[in-house]
Amino acid sequence: MLSGMTNSPRAELARLLLLMTAGLTLLAMFGEIVLMGSLIYAAIPVIKATLLMVLARKVAALRRWAMITTIVLASVSLAGFTISNLIGLLPQLDHTVTLTGLVTEAALPLTLIVLCGQLLAATPRRLKVRVAQ
C-alpha cells in the first residue's frame, strides 16, 4: 500500500468529503472576488482549501492530528452556520436557510466530525520508543 492510502472505508469517506469541502470552499471564493473586485479575497479560501487537501490525505493515512484538525475545522464551520442563524434574529438582517446550505453548512461538517471522532477512537496513539544510548 502507498503512503496516504488506507483500507479503512471510514477514512476513505472522510477523505472524499474533505476534498468536496475544498471544492466548495474554492467555489464560494469566487462570489467574494467578483463582488469586491480584488484577488486579496482569494488568500484565506486558498489557504483553507490547501489545508483541507492535506487533511484529506493525512486522514486517509490515519494520522490522529489530521483527524483532530478536521474536527476543529468542521466545528468552526458549524459555529459559523449557527452564528449566521443568530444574526438572522437581528431586525435589520435575516438569514436564508437553503436546502443545499443545510447539506453543505450543517450536515457535511457534522458528518466529518462523527467520522473523524469514530476514526480517532479506533486509531491507537503511536508510542515513542526511546532507544537507550
Binding site: 502507498l2 496516504g4 492510502m5 472505508p9 471510514r10 476513505e12 469517506l13 477523505r15 472524499l16 476534498l19 468536496m20 475544498a22 471544492g23 466548495l24 470552499t25 474554492l26 467555489l27 464560494a28 471564493m29 469566487f30 462570489g31 467574494e32 472576488i33 467578483v34 463582488l35 469586491m36 473586485g37 480584488s38 486579496i40 479575497y41 484565506i44 479560501p45 489557504i47 483553507k48 482549501a49 487537501m53 484529506a56 468552526v76 459559523g80 452564528i83 449566521s84 444574526i87 438572522g88 431586525p91 435589520q92 438582517l93 435575516d94 438569514h95 436564508t96 436557510v97 437553503t98 436546502l99 443545499t100 446550505g101 443545510l102 447539506v103 453543505t104 453548512e105
Partner: protein, 415 residues
C-alpha cells in the same frame, strides 16, 4: 417572508413532488428494516461504508429523477430522459448491493447527466433550483466515490482527488452563471410597456400561457426572490407600475447633479466608480419612507471620466424579511441579497449555489430592494441592472462634472 417561505421558494413547484418523495426515503428505509427479518449470519458480508454511501447516493438521485415527471411532464423527451436516467441510477444501486461492477458505468452516467443539466440551465431551458442543485451535489459525491476505487497507482489517486475538486468548482460555477442568466432573462418576463400607459391605453406584457416558469432566483445564490402569485399583471397593475416609475423620475430629477445628492445626505456605500455606483441615505431607512418616490433609500449613478449621471433609484425595506409592497405585481418585483460577510480582510461576497460562504465568514440576508431606472434604461424601468455600454454612453452625453476624490471624501466622512 418567514424562513419556511424563503426555504420553499428555492424549490421549483414542478420539482416539489420529487423532493417530498426523496425526503420520505429515510422513513421508507426505516420501515423496511423494521418489518423485514434481520439478515442471516451465514449470508453475504455486509456492504462496506463506502458502498453503502454509494448505494444511498444512487438511490436518492434515482428516485429524484424517476419522480421528476410527476410535476415536470411538459416535454415528452425530457420526461423519457428523467425516467431513463432515474432507472439507470437505481439499477446501478442494485449492482452495488450485489457486488457487481458499477464504478465505470456510474462515472459515465453521472458525467453525461451533469453535462445535460448544465446544458439545459445555461441554454435557458430551466432555471436552476435547490432540488436540481442538490441532485447535482449528490451526483458529484457519487462520482467521487466511484473514482475513489481500489487504486494502486499514486498518479490515479491524485488525479481522482483533483478531479473531484475540479468537478465541484466547475459544476458550481456553471450553475451560478446559469442562475444569473435566468435572472437577466427575467427582466424580459415582466417588463413595463410604457407606451400609452398614462392614457389608459395600457399594453399588458405578453406571456405564453404554456410557459409559466416563475423566475424566483431559486438557486438562492446571491439573490432571493418571492414567488409570483400571478404572471399576468392586470391593466390596473401596469398603470400603477408606470405611475411609480414616472413619480420616481420626476421626484429624483433634482439629484441629476451628483453634487446635489451628496449635499442632501446621500453617501456612497460601495464602489466609487463604474456603471452602478450606489449613494445611500440611511435617514430614509424607516417605515415612513417605504416606496416613497420623494425619499428613495438610494440613488444609482454611472461615474466615469470625471462625470456622473443619475440612472435611477433604489427602494429598500427598513427590515429584512419584511416583504415590499408590489403595486405593479409581477412588474414591480423586489429582491434581497444573501451575502457573506468576511473579517479577513473585511469584505462581502454572495452565497454560492451550493449554499456556502467563503472561509471564516457568516451569512446574512439583506432587506428587500427594488431598482427603478429613470434614465431610459433599454431594459425598462424595473430591470435588475443596466447595460454597462449603454450607461457609459449615457454618461458621456448627459453626465455632470464630478470633482476627483469627492466621492471618496464623502464615504470617509460617512464612516
Amino acid at each position: 417572508m418567514n424562513p419556511w417561505q424563503t426555504f420553499w421558494s428555492g424549490i421549483a413547484p414542478d420539482h416539489a413532488a420529487a423532493f417530498i418523495l426523496t425526503a420520505l426515503l429515510p422513513a421508507v428505509w426505516w420501515l423496511y428494516r423494521a418489518i423485514t427479518p434481520p439478515p442471516a449470519t451465514d449470508g453475504p458480508p455486509p456492504l462496506s461504508l463506502m458502498h453503502r454511501w454509494a448505494m444511498a447516493g444512487l438511490v436518492v438521485t434515482g428516485v429524484i429523477h424517476v419522480a421528476l415527471p410527476i410535476g415536470h411532464h411538459d416535454n415528452p423527451v425530457l420526461t423519457a430522459g428523467f425516467l431513463g436516467a432515474g432507472l439507470a441510477y437505481l439499477w446501478l444501486a442494485v449492482r452495488v448491493v450485489r457486488g457487481r461492477s458499477w464504478r465505470l458505468l456510474t462515472a459515465l452516467l453521472v458525467v453525461s447527466n451533469l453535462f445535460g443539466y448544465l446544458f439545459v440551465i445555461t441554454a435557458g431551458g430551466e432555471e436552476p433550483d435547490q432540488v436540481g442543485i442538490l441532485t447535482a451535489l449528490d451526483e458529484l459525491m457519487v462520482l467521487g466515490i466511484a473514482m475513489t476505487g481500489p487504486a494502486h497507482r499514486r498518479l490515479a489517486r491524485a488525479a481522482a482527488s483533483a478531479g473531484t475538486i475540479a468537478a465541484v468548482v466547475l459544476v458550481g460555477l456553471v450553475i451560478w452563471i446559469g442562475s444569473f442568466v435566468a435572472h437577466q432573462h427575467s427582466d424580459l418576463d415582466a417588463d413595463l410597456t410604457t407606451a400609452g400607459a398614462a392614457d389608459a391605453a395600457v399594453e399588458v406584457p405578453h406571456h405564453d400561457d404554456d410557459h409559466e416558469h416563475d423566475h424566483a432566483a431559486r438557486a438562492q445564490a446571491g439573490v432571493i426572490m418571492r414567488s409570483l402569485a400571478s404572471h399576468h399583471p392586470t391593466a390596473e397593475q401596469v398603470r400603477a407600475a408606470d405611475q411609480l416609475a414616472r413619480s420616481t423620475e420626476s421626484a429624483i430629477a433634482r439629484y441629476a447633479d451628483i453634487n446635489v445628492a451628496l449635499e442632501a445626505g446621500y453617501k456612497p456605500s460601495g464602489a466609487l466608480a463604474g456603471t452602478e455606483v450606489h449613494l445611500e441615505n440611511k435617514a430614509y431607512d424607516t417605515a415612513a419612507h417605504i416606496l416613497d418616490p420623494e425619499h428613495p433609500q438610494a440613488l444609482v449613478y454611472v461615474v466615469a471620466d470625471g462625470k456622473a449621471a443619475l440612472l435611477g433609484a433604489v427602494f429598500r425595506m427598513p427590515e429584512a424579511g419584511r416583504p415590499g409592497p408590489e403595486p405593479g405585481a409581477a412588474i414591480t418585483r423586489w429582491h434581497a441579497h444573501n451575502i457573506c460577510l468576511t473579517p479577513l480582510p473585511p469584505g462581502a461576497g454572495i452565497a454560492s449555489p451550493f449554499g456556502g460562504c467563503p472561509a471564516l465568514s457568516v451569512g446574512a440576508t439583506m432587506p428587500e430592494m427594488m431598482h427603478v431606472w429613470t434614465a431610459g434604461n433599454p431594459g425598462g424601468p424595473y430591470a435588475e441592472s443596466v447595460d454597462p455600454q449603454w450607461a457609459r454612453a449615457y454618461n458621456a452625453a448627459h453626465g455632470t462634472p464630478l470633482a476627483s476624490g469627492r466621492l471618496g471624501r464623502a464615504r470617509s466622512a460617512a464612516r
